[in-house]
């Protein structure tokens, strides 16, 4: 394997993994705090991308980078206040069902407003072009920007949670909601804040992910199930676990897509040949690149069998 390929794949995987982390961090925060698995989290990612597209058309990319996540966060807070809080009294499964229905409706609404085809959401000119060239491969500047935003966000979330007063209240409400309430904090409002904040993070990921990939109505579905895998593999409710799992899955997928190894080629290394008419020949000829879409789910199954609480999780769900 070439050094060039390894380094570029490492960087690409890392940037994809960090984008996944921007999504899964909000999901994990919401889950560990409210016990609600927000099925519509990827829908907020999609809304972020579309808002980013609409606002950058009107005002430019940089205002969109700030305004779109705020708008998505506000939307999330409204959903929590007028939707989730109503079903909260029925338990966790109705909450999950509510967000599931929401994801259904959001896709339809997005199609209603922006149409069924992908929208031309372009990378801003200032960030278009190569950042540096490794050997012969150019690394795009926008990928670097994505990593930068994700890292800044990571540090910001960490600082807010550990160094500010509101972060302390959030942490207290996370572990001891009754005690926090008894001390005079408005725990439902903290919930609303966390839900809105988590959605804003997803929206931010949408604004910078939407033009790196494709902004289309199917984008929520493609990333949605991956971030659930991230949350389970990392350990339910563990932020550090979410970071580890995001980067792991990002790297796994980026490397696998580029490799055409198969059992056949592995056996060929030892001088064995598989006849093309042998039974289950298909199993031998599948390449790692073809397997790439299912690798996260295989990882999920393996983790559940061998380490049910997730990589860095502390409790079993």
């Amino acid at each position: 394997m070439h050094v060039e390929f390894t380094l570029i794949s490492l960087l690409n995987g890392l940037s994809y993994g960090l984008l996944l982390f921007m999504l899964s961090s909000g999901l994990t925060l919401i889950f560990s705090m409210m016990g609600v698995l927000n099925f519509a989290h990827a829908s907020f990612y999609m809304i972020g991308a579309y808002f980013g597209y609409a606002i950058s058309n009107a005002l430019g990319f940089w205002p969109a980078l700030v305004l779109a996540p705020l708008a998505v966060g506000l939307l999330g807070a409204l959903v929590e206040r007028y939707g989730l809080r109503t079903v909260h009294k029925y338990g966790h499964i109705p909450e999950l069902l509510f967000t599931f229905g929401l994801s259904y409706v959001v896709v339809e609404l997005v199609q209603l407003i922006w149409g069924r085809a992908a929208v031309p959401y372009k990378i801003p000119a200032a960030l278009d072009g190569p950042l540096f060239t490794l050997y012969t491969t150019a690394f795009p500047m926008y990928r670097g920007f994505m990593m930068l935003v994700a890292l800044v966000m990571l540090v910001a979330v960490y600082l807010v949670l550990t160094r500010t007063r509101i972060g302390m209240v959030i942490q207290a409400s996370l572990t001891h909601p009754d005690a926090a309430e008894a001390l005079g904090h408005n725990v439902p409002r903290v919930f609303m804040l966390v839900f809105g904040g988590g959605c804003a993070l997803a929206g931010l990921a949408g604004v910078i992910g939407g033009n790196a990939f494709v902004t289309e109505p199917a984008m929520a579905g493609t990333v949605g199930s991956i971030i659930f895998v991230v949350v389970v593999v990392g350990g339910m409710g563990s932020l550090a676990g979410a970071l580890l799992a995001s980067v792991l899955i990002g790297l796994l997928q980026t490397f696998a897509v580029a490799l055409d190894w198969s059992l056949q080629s592995l056996l060929a290394n030892f001088g064995a040949q598989v006849a093309s008419d042998a039974p289950y020949f298909r199993l031998f000829s599948i390449t790692l690149a073809e397997l790439a879409p299912i690798l996260p789910y295989l990882l999920l199954v393996l983790v559940l069998i061998f380490r049910p609480k997730g990589l860095l999780g502390t409790r079993e769900g």
Binding site: L37, G83, Y104, Y297, V301
Partner: protein
């Protein structure tokens, strides 16, 4: 050791439950007579789809309603059952596997059961939210695999078959749709009886307990994980039967059959029907197929309506259609319908007006964004409407606003008298039980 003496042998006196016999008999009659009422070709095809969806929804409710397991991946079992069934049909017509078509659903069922044993071992290790996410992971895994092995899954085009195999027996070749309908109805009846029976076995009862309070079940010595595992295997068996029937009905099975989309649909239908009652999923399946097949012919926005309807059900009627029906039924039985009727009519009429306004607005919006290239006029409730005219939008807005305001006014009196009547009925029930 003396406490044993104080327990008495249980009384074994079970009168013939006439009501239950009547219900099952009328269920069978409805299944028999339905094709007489909807004899047209499309009517029969919709009835057949409803039949398979009813088995699927009932099997799903074994997990969600009875076991408290919210699965996002139930289509895995019905879809894989369908694939095995369609290969069985093809092998039977090729002569390498002798099986009559009427038993092909059983092939699907057994395939579902085997995959239930395989995947269920992983998924049922956890409960609650984690179970849901793992089931989603499994369905994505199977869906991605289905595109990877075109030999078995037929790739993008799927696997097709001809269901007319062998010589007709008693003149039944299963070529005409009506014969397929009766095959589906037969399996539906058998499966319904089977699932109803399972719900009343000790396993079914302990599954309810696992749903409500797993900790206490652990304390009385049951392994909650194996209870969930067994329920999932049984449920996968019936899902496989429904998959086999849908393979016979459509004569084609594609990757869409094992998708998360299909799994989501059965979740929507089952919940809308009502997970608290055994017959809820039946209602949900009828309603769901009706919405998907008929509504999709009239409007492009049907998925939006389905989603909004689902959210409203989750928020305001978590018991689904079945619980609404049963509560109304209880009021009728206690002869108090006349007291709530005016208020009920009030919210129904105002709700209908609001709904009309909303539907008109949504339809016009859909037309404007998705089809305005073909002109701005459209048919709306039998009238030509120009979506470019602001006046038209104002009219729809006005209709909606009138409906919403009237609904808000009608809501409070209804809630009052509804609560009053139900409190009285509960008082009566308490008094008679003393």
């Amino acid at each position: 050791m003396t406490y044993r003496d104080t327990t008495y042998p249980a009384m074994h006196y079970t009168p013939v439950n006439l009501g239950r016999w009547a219900v099952w008999l009328s269920y069978a009659l409805i299944l028999l007579l339905a094709p007489k009422l909807f004899a047209s070709g499309s009517g029969l095809s919709i009835l057949s789809q409803m039949g398979t969806m009813m088995i699927f929804a009932l099997s799903y409710n074994m997990l969600l309603g009875q076991g408290g397991m919210l699965s996002f991946g139930h289509a895995v079992y019905s879809g894989l059952g369908a694939f095995f069934a369609i290969h069985a049909i093809n092998m039977a017509s090729g002569g390498s596997f002798a099986i009559p078509l009427s038993l092909v659903p059983l092939v699907g069922g057994i395939a579902g059961l085997c995959f239930g044993m395989l995947f269920g071992y992983v998924t049922t290790k956890r409960s609650g939210t984690t179970f849901s996410m793992i089931s989603l992971g499994i369905v994505e895994l199977v869906f991605a695999c289905s595109l990877m092995f075109p030999g078995f899954f037929g790739g993008e085009g799927g696997v097709s078959a001809n269901r007319v195999i062998g010589k007709p027996l008693f003149g039944i070749s299963f070529g005409p749709q009506i014969e397929v309908y009766y095959l589906i109805a037969f399996w539906l009846f058998i499966s319904t009886v089977g699932m109803f029976a399972i719900a009343h076995t000790p396993l079914g009862r302990i599954a309810n307990a696992v749903r409500d309070n797993p900790e206490r079940v652990e304390f009385i010595g049951y392994n909650t994980q194996s209870v969930r595992y067994l329920m999932l295997i049984l449920s996968a068996f019936f899902a496989g039967i429904s998959g086999g029937l849908s393979a016979i009905n459509f004569e084609i099975v594609s990757a869409e059959n094992v998708s998360a989309l299909r799994s989501g649909a059965v979740l929507l239908f089952t919940f809308i029907g009502g997970i608290g009652f055994f017959f809820g999923p039946l209602l949900g399946a009828v309603m769901g197929v009706f919405l998907t097949v008929l509504l999709s012919e009239f409007t492009k926005a049907w998925q939006l309506y389905l989603g909004v309807f689902f959210i409203l059900t989750v928020m305001y009627a978590p018991g689904g259609l079945a619980s609404i029906l049963m509560m109304l039924f209880r009021v009728v039985v206690h002869k108090r319908l006349s007291r709530i009727l005016p208020a009920l009519a009030g919210i129904c009429v105002s709700g209908l007006i609001a709904l009309t306004g909303v539907v008109m607005l949504i339809e016009m919006l859909y037309h404007l964004t998705l089809e305005s290239a073909n002109g701005t006029t459209m048919m709306l409730f039998g009238r030509m409407v120009d979506t470019a005219l602001p006046a038209q939008w104002a009219i729809c807005m006005a209709v909606m606003l009138v409906g919403v305001i009237a609904f808000l006014f009608a809501r409070t009196p209804f809630a009052l008298c509804w609560g009053e009547v139900n409190a009285e009925i509960e008082q009566l029930a308490l008094r008679s039980s003393k």
